[in-house]
Subunit: 212 residues, 2 copies
C-alpha cells in the first residue's frame, strides 16, 4: 500500500502527522511525504519542518493520497502544483483523502464536485465554492473520497480508513498501538461544544491571521 502525503509551505503539522502515525502502521504500508521539491518543508507556525523525501512528480500515482490543511492552503492552491498533482493522482488512486483545509485543495482539483464533504469548521462555507455540500461530520466518506474536519480529526479519519482497508481488528490494534483513548481536559473541541466567548476568541485570532 503506497501512501503519499503532499506537503507545502504553511501546512499544519498535525494534519499530516496524525494520519501518518495511523497509516504507517498498516501492514505492508509505505508512507511518503512529497512536495513540489524534495527537502524540508516549513509548517505554518514557522517552528517545525518536515522532510519531503520525494518530489511530487516522482510519486505520481499513490494508492492513497492524504492532503493536509494549513494556514497557507490558499497560497498553495494559488501556486497550483499540489492541486495539479492531486488532480492526476486522483484518477488512479484507491483513496483520495484530506484533513482540515486540505479539502479545499481537493476541491480546487475538482475532486469534490457534487459530493458531501467536510473541512475546518471556520471554512465549511468555502466548500460550496468547490461544488461540494458542507457537512458537519468529523469524517465524511463519498465513495473513495474521504474528508476530515480540522487538524486532529485526521487521526479519526485514518482509523476509519484503516478499518475499511484492513478490517476492524487491525484498525483497533493501531488505535491501541498509539494509545488513542482521548481524554481532553475540556469538552471544547467543536463550535457547538465550546463556550461562546472561546469561539469568539478563536474567530478573532483566525481573522487577525488572515488579514496579516
Amino acid at each position: 500500500m503506497d501512501i503519499a502525503i503532499p506537503l507545502y509551505d504553511g501546512f499544519t503539522a498535525l494534519d499530516a502527522v496524525g494520519p501518518y502515525e495511523v497509516l504507517s502502521n498498516l501492514p505492508g504500508a509505505t508512507v511518503r511525504f512529497v512536495a513540489a521539491e524534495s527537502g524540508p518543508v516549513a509548517a505554518d507556525t514557522g517552528m517545525l519542518s518536515l522532510v519531503a523525501e520525494a518530489a511530487l512528480d516522482e510519486v505520481p500515482a499513490p494508492e492513497i493520497l492524504c492532503v493536509p490543511g494549513g494556514r497557507e492552503t490558499r497560497a498553495a492552491i494559488a501556486d497550483g502544483r499540489v492541486v495539479e498533482w492531486v488532480r492526476r493522482a486522483h484518477e488512479t488512486s484507491e483513496w483520495t483523502t484530506s484533513v482540515c483545509t486540505g479539502a479545499l485543495v481537493l476541491g480546487a482539483a475538482g475532486v469534490l464536485e457534487g459530493l458531501a464533504a467536510t473541512t475546518y469548521w471556520l471554512q465549511l462555507d468555502s466548500l460550496r465554492e468547490c461544488g461540494a455540500r458542507p457537512t458537519e461530520q468529523r469524517v465524511v466518506r463519498e465513495g473513495k473520497v474521504v474528508t476530515a474536519a480540522g487538524v486532529s480529526s485526521g487521526i479519526d479519519m485514518a482509523l476509519t480508513l484503516a478499518a475499511l482497508i484492513a478490517g476492524d481488528d487491525v484498525a483497533q490494534a493501531i488505535q491501541l498501538g498509539i494509545e488513542y483513548d482521548p481524554q481532553p481536559p475540556f469538552d471544547a473541541g467543536s463550535e457547538a461544544k465550546a463556550p461562546e466567548h472561546v469561539v469568539e476568541l478563536v474567530r478573532a485570532v483566525a481573522a487577525a491571521r488572515s488579514s496579516a
Copy 2:
C-alpha cells in the same frame, strides 16, 4: 515561553507533534526541536524525518521541555546525550514533561525518583526501574513534572499544561483551534477497553519488534 522538544533517531512522530501543535499556539510561545546535532532526525517508522533546528547544547535551559518516546528510546538512553541534556535542563525548567516512553528518558535522568508517573501501557513496569510509581492515568502531574501515556496522549497532556500556564480559556481556544473533538471509530485505545485478541495482537507486534 521557550519550549524545547528533544528528538533522537527512532522517536515517534506523533509523540512530538501532538504537544508541538498545542504548545506552539500558546501566546508568546516558541517551540524548538533540538537534537544531539541539528538537522533531520528520522522517526521510528523510517518514513518521516523532522528537522531539529538546533543542537541540544544550543538550548540548555528551556522553560518547558517535552521528551517524546519511540521504538528506539532505549538506544537513545544508552547513547546518553539526551539524558544528560534533560538532567541539566530540569534543574532550571518550569515544566519537565514526557510523552509515552519519553518518561524512561526522564527516569534515566533521575527526574522521576519517588514520583508517580505514566508511560506507554506496555512499558509501565519499566518505570519502577527509575524509582517511579507506575500510574494508569493518561496524564500524571507531580509538581513541575508531567508525564503522559502513549503516543496520542501528548495532546491531552499539552492541553492540560496549556491550562496550567495560560488558563482554561486559552487552553479551550487551542482545543477548538485544532478541532480536537475526538470521535475514534472504535473504543479500543487502552488495554482495558480493547478486545482481548486485539491486545494480544499488539503485544505480539511489540514483542517481534523488540526482538528484531
